[in-house]
């Protein structure tokens, strides 16, 4: 099997307080992995490292064979174009329409207008909010905003989708819907990593779980790709 993501003895400290200590694991291509742990366990730090927003003090991180810790500042944007990100607080631009928010990753890549229209429509359809494309994010419910955020993350066909506490602001019903959405995206071949502290999400996902506690990895079963 091919390792999509590989962490080798990764450590990170802030002001001498360890955020991550000697983390090593592999995530295979097409896997769906849950990153579990309470607040402050180091989940967000780990996800930020995968997109080059943080650098480890020690260790190596590989994404699709590329050493992320060795990327130059100019190379980081190109990594992020292959790794979609979903956030707990959605991070949508309030003064842009749903369409424009989702189109943004394509615009920064210089994709032609005609392709942008098609790809944004596809992404919005995939998350079930195509009919909301002309609305402002502030007029949407939390669940819809998270769907738009996911559409933005998948619009340019990333190889990996990272979601940092994506259901943190959602009720159980919406959480279940969003988890189903991630499963669908994963079923199409995208490697998905979702961080959460919610055991309910773990039950819904029912896939491999990597557990962190105070920056230390306490469980990491062998990789398994979804059927």
């Amino acid at each position: 099997m091919d390792a999509m993501i590989q962490l080798i003895h990764v450590s990170k400290s802030y002001d001498r307080r360890p955020a991550l200590s000697d983390i090593s694991f592999e995530i295979e291509k097409g896997e769906f992995v849950l990153l579990m742990g309470p607040s402050g366990a180091g989940k967000s730090t780990l996800l930020r490292m995968l997109i080059g927003a943080e650098r480890p003090d020690d260790g190596q991180i590989f994404v699709q064979g590329k050493n992320v810790t060795k990327l130059t500042r100019a190379e980081v944007p190109y990594l992020r174009r292959k790794v979609g990100s979903v956030f707990q607080d959605f991070r949508l631009l309030p003064k842009k329409s749903v369409f424009d928010n989702v189109a943004l990753p394509l615009i920064v890549q210089g994709v032609p207008s005609v392709d942008i229209r098609r790809k944004v429509a596809e992404a919005l359809r995939a998350v079930g909010v195509e009919h909301k494309k002309d609305q402002w994010p502030t007029s949407l419910s939390a669940g819809e905003q998270q769907r738009v955020c996911i559409a933005r993350a998948i619009v340019n066909g990333p190889i990996v989708l990272l979601a940092d506490e994506p259901t943190g602001n959602l009720d159980p019903q919406l959480t279940a819907e969003i988890v189903e959405l991630f499963k669908l995206i994963n079923a199409r071949g995208t490697t998905v990593i979702v961080s959460t502290h919610d055991p309910h999400v773990m039950m819904l996902v029912n896939r491999r779980v990597i557990t962190l506690e105070q920056g230390v990895m306490v469980t990491s079963p062998e990789p398994r790709v979804s059927a």
Binding site: P77, L93, V108
Partner: protein, 299 residues
């Protein structure tokens, strides 16, 4: 194409978000650049005046009274044969007296009291245009001063030198004021851009996370700086032009400078365009400084 239109729209949106600070930035930049422009205008016009004086330079070569008619003719021949001389007009003692009478009729009785004509004969020499630079004129007068029969040489170089000194001082002031006020313009525009950056920091963070390159993030703010600097510079030229025309109108009707209104001129179009480009450059510099301070390069 979509990226380009996006970047332009973002720059426009940036200016709309902080409309009042945008207007204040353009106005203050305009006044700062107008102050620089006043000295520049003064400098350009004085240089031009110095050029006219230098072009119009007439050298008086006074002839020794004891010189015979033949010797005067020989001196005339030598002057006219000189490759630096464009023309040499002989003014006899009688002609000099007659001109004095015409120019200073009230003082003419002073000369009459002397009995004989005290005014010397002279040649009014005009040098060829390529030899009218101060150094060339000085070298020529030093050479001709030693010719037999030449009593004295006089020309208005002192005037021109004094004007050149004044121009030099104005040049220094213009440079000093220019540097200080340009730095002020860069700071004003930089602060405006910083306000925009602050109000859009979340958006910048999102752009970073979805894979926007540093230049993609920077371009709207650099465009905004360019527009602020360009508009400020264009407005400063409009202010200067208005002030200049008012000044020209005033001195044309009253005051001791009456008559020079036709000699002074505003900047030519090429200089106006260059000044707008300088404004654009200052605006971009202001944006760039703010972007660096904001840390747009971080990942």
């Amino acid at each position: 194409m979509r990226s380009l239109s996006y970047l332009v729209r973002e720059a426009w949106a940036n200016m709309r978000i902080n409309r009042s600070t945008t207007v204040v930035a353009i106005m203050t930049t305009a006044f700062a650049l107008a102050c620089v422009g006043i000295f520049l205008l003064l400098y350009v016009n004085l240089r031009s005046a110095a050029g006219w004086l230098q072009d119009d330079i007439k050298i008086m070569v006074y002839v020794d009274d004891r010189l015979t008619r033949e010797a005067v003719a020989e001196l005339e021949g030598r002057l006219k044969a000189d490759r630096m001389v464009a023309g040499a007009l002989y003014i006899s003692k009688e002609q000099a007296l007659s001109e004095f009478r015409t120019q200073f009729p009230a003082d003419f009785h002073l000369l009459e009291g002397l009995g004989e004509n005290p005014l010397p004969a002279s040649f009014v020499v005009t040098l060829a245009s390529q030899y009218r630079a101060p150094d060339a004129v000085k070298r020529w007068t030093e050479r001709v001063r030693t010719l037999p029969g030449v009593a004295k040489i006089d020309y208005n170089q002192e005037w021109i030198d004094a004007l050149a000194g004044l121009i030099h001082y104005i040049e220094l002031i213009a440079i000093g004021v220019g540097v200080i006020l340009s730095a002020a313009a860069v700071t004003i525009i930089g602060n405006t851009i910083r306000l925009t950056l602050f109000s859009r920091r979340e958006e910048i963070e999102i752009l970073r996370l979805i894979g926007a390159t540093r230049s993609f993030i920077r371009i709207p703010y650099l465009l905004e700086g360019a527009v602020l600097g360009g508009c400020g510079s264009a407005l400063s030229l409009a202010i200067l032009k208005g002030g200049f025309e008012l000044f020209r109108q005033q001195i044309g009707t009253t005051g001791p400078l009456r008559g020079i209104e036709s000699l002074i001129a505003f900047f030519p179009t090429s200089v106006c365009l260059a000044l707008v480009l300088v404004g654009i450059g200052l605006g971009i510099a202001g944006s760039f400084v703010s972007l660096r301070r904001f840390g747009d390069g971080r990942t």
